[in-house]
């Protein structure tokens, strides 16, 4: 499974706006590169990234080949209640990866 590096603050005050960062290991082969015989490397990218906070979707991204290898996203959300922030990546060739982090809200 692809390695993911995720940064969610473990603790936050209620109502605080927190930054979430998520990076996943993936080549993001564009489908536009050719080898020295003129053969195209088939496209193999992550196409969707979804982040849910206690099962409610807070962020969704649709990725194109123009996203660099090892896709990284940083975004914000409001810390509402303690719980789980879950991440889900899916893409070509049945690629799927999930990760989650707990957050304590006081």
């Amino acid at each position: 499974m692809a390695r993911a590096i995720i940064n969610v603050p473990p603790k936050a005050r209620r109502g605080e706006i927190i930054e979430i960062k998520a990076l996943i290991q993936h080549e993001m082969e564009t489908g536009f590169r050719v080898d020295n015989m003129g053969r195209v490397f088939p496209r193999d990218i992550i196409t969707d990234f979804i982040c849910k906070y206690n099962d409610e979707e807070i962020f969704r991204a649709e990725l194109f080949p123009a996203i660099a290898a090892n896709p990284f996203f940083s975004f914000f959300t409001t810390a509402i209640e303690s719980g789980t922030v879950a991440f889900e990546w899916s893409g070509d060739n049945g690629f799927s990866a999930t990760a989650s982090r707990n957050i304590a809200v006081e």
Binding site: R33, G38, A61, N70, T78
Partner: protein, 169 residues
């Protein structure tokens, strides 16, 4: 310049041979008919027109205003393989007035789309950061869709020293 028929024919033969021998790489892919190589069409780069078409495809016919959006991308990048980009949109991010989506487009990559994100009032701050690829020096455009249905944009021109997508293995 002195006319030299021999030199001329040599040059012509050289070019013919070169075309026949160019069995590798992109040149062959483009000229590749009948050479026994798989015909791989080098993707035509997106153009400002295709970017415009892609924008219309995503947001429809709504007018796009300048402002409210701040696209942050270095004006000069060394490697197009990883270019950090951030977009922030001025918005109170309340239930009545928030940013629904942010789309990023480019002019000269093989595809005009870069990324599209959806968010809601819970985001608190309409800011996105990611890393993208740029195949050439070009203009990158970010468009934000607000909850009132209006669209706002910002464009930045980027010079790329080493473009992405050109290297072969």
């Amino acid at each position: 310049m002195r006319h030299n028929p021999i030199a001329g024919s040599t040059r012509r033969r050289f070019l013919t041979d070169a075309a026949a021998a160019a069995g590798t790489g992109v040149v062959a892919a483009d000229l590749g008919l009948g050479l026994g190589f798989p015909l791989t069409v080098r993707p035509a780069a997106a153009t400002p027109d295709t970017m415009h078409a892609a924008i219309r495809n995503v947001i429809g016919e709504a007018p796009v205003h300048k402002g409210k959006v701040k696209l942050d991308i270095p004006p000069l990048v060394e490697s197009g393989n990883t270019v950090s980009l951030s977009v922030s949109v001025e918005s109170p991010m309340t239930a009545n007035a928030h940013v629904k989506a942010i789309h990023v487009f480019n002019e000269k990559n093989p595809l005009p789309n870069v990324v599209g994100i959806r968010l809601g009032p819970r985001a608190g701050r309409a800011t996105l950061a990611t890393r993208i690829r740029l195949a050439d020096s070009q203009t990158v455009t970010a468009i934000a869709e607000l909850s009132d249905g209006s669209f706002w944009s910002d464009s930045v021109s980027v010079i790329v020293t080493l473009p992405a997508c050109v290297e072969t293995l």
